[in-house]
């Protein structure tokens, strides 16, 4: 028996807010050299954009092929991504207007790559990405 019962809730909203806030701050100085660990938020945002691109948010932990299921593990009431997906949709519309989801995701992913490579980013691209992260953060708040 463990010494304490801790009820863990999903961290996703909290963490993606953090990642978006960090990515937004990197956008202000894209050419600044950062440590390898600074790529962690960028990588996570990239993976989130891929989930959004393919509408592939299924991500629950599965037990092994022969696992004896614990009947006390109930299905969760809410999908972990519902709020995040809506926030992404809203932020894409505000930042990229009428362009397709695929094109917006392509541009955002390219922006993340340029930040990770400490490369200069075109002003228009930078503004749109900044707007995207601002709206995404607002929607998650």
């Amino acid at each position: 028996m463990s010494i304490i019962s801790v009820y863990e809730t999903d961290n996703s909203d909290f963490m993606y807010k953090k990642f978006a806030s960090l990515a937004s701050s990197y956008l202000d100085e894209p050419e600044t050299k950062r440590s390898d660990s600074a790529n962690v938020p960028l990588e996570n945002l990239f993976q989130l954009l891929e989930m959004y691109r393919y509408d592939a948010f299924s991500d629950e932990s599965r037990s092994g092929v022969l696992a004896l299921d614990d009947v006390n593990t109930r299905p969760s009431d809410d999908e972990w991504y519902t709020k995040i997906k809506t926030a992404l949709e809203q932020a894409v519309v505000i930042a990229y207007g009428n362009v397709s989801k695929e094109k917006a995701v392509d541009e955002l992913e390219e922006t993340l790559r340029l930040i990770a490579r400490n490369t200069n980013i075109q002003s228009a691209m930078q503004k749109k990405a900044k707007k995207f992260f601002e709206k995404f953060l607002e929607e998650l708040s």
Binding site: S12, F14, S35, S37, A38, Q47, D59, A67, V71
Partner: protein, 449 residues
């Protein structure tokens, strides 16, 4: 210490722990990869804790959770250094999985996963744990493969891990998109009980359902306080996860297409070893008998039960006995077979096309000549592999380890009744020696160029 100071101390502890793990060996070129990956994750979490206000209790709790997860992962990696698993099998499993599990990351369109393997407790511990996509705080995905400790050398049963390759590739967003499209269009929405949650629950609670299923549903309702109100209308709200059931069905198909008949044999053997009744309606797994019947039907449709051109005789008799016993595990009654052959065929064709794009993931039936050679070796209690003595020099040939496993399964039905554990050891030795032969052949080819 306040909570923030405690976490700062714990970050230092984890750093020391991570360094400690480098004392052990984890296979060639693996240590550097996982150390760099875990070190990056730790650096990120440490920076976040440093930047968290001591009064921000939510922030501290969330970062503490990330740190705990990382510690758990490093513990599993350290445990993998014990090496209590069949390394020849693992080498081959990694070989067939790496290409299909390679995924796109921010700066590399082809990032392979990092594999770690350890042994777990109990028969049911077979698993591959792919990390979740959401907030994984990482660059490389770390796949942890678990084998039951007691079955260390039982390579024939390890074929069950083909199912787990399915869970691993489901994590890739692009694969998930395609796999979902295939399963929905060709199987779930083309008829049968998986149109939606309601139809699945109706199938489960139908009058045709076996009495054992009805009894089990009653046990849930009467023996567990939290399920007193369980009915078919709320079954997938309060008891089972419908999406998990569908993912399990997909992963069984992936297991079949990656390991072939050996997967079906391991599937039947292990599922019935754990659940002899063949029922078990689980929160995350659909009934065992339904899964076994689906795999047997799929094997028939794929033509696995025969080998082209195999003449009448000892090998054919043994092959037929092997399939005869497997088919004996089939549950009778239409309830257990809710999908038509046409649906199963369509889904197999499309899944096969996808897997074929990532060689060498896909299983192909052996030619009869190879089957005959391997069979004669094994029933003579010689490891079945690509080595023959000719009048001049030994002749070496490449052999897919899945063909060694298949011949092992067939030989379990040979009249000489070689014990199951001995067949497993012979096959494990064959896989190990075959790795050496394959390396030699590939070096010889390079030198010849």
């Amino acid at each position: 210490m306040n909570p923030k100071q405690f976490l700062e101390q714990e970050c230092k502890n984890v750093k020391e722990f991570l360094k400690d793990t480098l004392r052990y060996k984890y296979g060639s070129n693996v240590s550097k990869k996982y150390f760099s990956e875990c070190n990056n994750r730790l650096k990120y979490i440490s920076d976040e804790i440093d930047n968290t206000d001591p009064k921000d209790l939510v922030g501290l709790h969330k970062n503490g959770s990330l740190l705990n997860e990382l510690t758990g992962l490093i513990s599993r990696i350290e445990r993998s250094s014990l090496g209590n698993y069949s390394w020849p099998f693992v080498e081959q499993l990694k070989k067939i999985s790496e290409n299909i599990c390679t995924e796109q990351t921010l700066l590399n369109p082809n990032t392979p996963p990092i594999f770690h393997i350890f042994s777990g407790e109990g028969l049911s511990s077979y698993a591959i744990y792919p990390e979740q996509n959401r907030v994984r705080v990482s660059k490389n995905r770390i796949l942890t493969i678990v084998f039951p400790r007691t079955l260390k050398h039982f390579v024939l049963l390890h074929s069950i891990l083909g199912h787990e390759i399915g869970h691993a590739i489901w994590r890739s967003q692009s694969h998930q998109h395609k796999l979902s499209q295939i399963m929905e269009s060709q199987l779930f929405r083309s008829g049968g009980p998986f149109l939606d949650r309601k139809t699945t629950a109706e199938w489960l609670y139908s009058d045709d359902a076996p009495n054992e299923v009805k009894a089990q549903l009653n046990i849930f309702k009467n023996k567990f306080r939290q399920f007193k109100t369980l009915t078919k209308d709320n079954f997938f709200d309060i008891f089972a996860d419908w999406d998990a059931w569908k993912e399990e069905i997909l992963c069984d198909f992936i297991g079949l297409l990656t390991f072939g008949p050996s997967f079906v044999a391991a599937h039947c053997q292990l599922l019935y070893a754990i659940v002899p009744s063949g029922i078990n309606v689980g929160p995350k797994h659909p009934p065992v008998g339904f899964r076994v019947n689906l795999m047997l039907a799929a094997s028939r449709i794929l033509g696995y039960e025969t080998i082209d051109g195999l003449p009448k005789g000892e090998i054919l008799d043994t092959l037929n006995k092997f399939w005869g016993e497997l088919k004996g595990k089939k549950q009778t009654g239409t309830w257990f077979n809710p999908f038509s052959d046409e649906q199963i065929k369509n889904v197999l064709v499309e899944l096969q096309n996808l897997i074929d794009s990532y060689p060498p993931a896909s299983f192909e039936l052996p030619q009869k000549e190879l089957l005959e050679k391997l069979f004669l070796q094994l029933v003579s209690k010689v490891p079945p592999l690509g080595f023959e003595m000719s009048s001049d020099d030994p002749v070496l040939n490449e052999v897919d380890f899945r063909h060694i496993l298949y011949i092992g399964w067939i030989a379990t039905h040979h009249h000489s009744q070689i014990p199951f554990d001995i067949i497993n050891r012979l096959c494990e030795h064959a896989i190990m020696q075959q790795i050496g032969i394959n390396t030699y052949i590939s070096q010889t080819k390079k030198t010849a160029k």
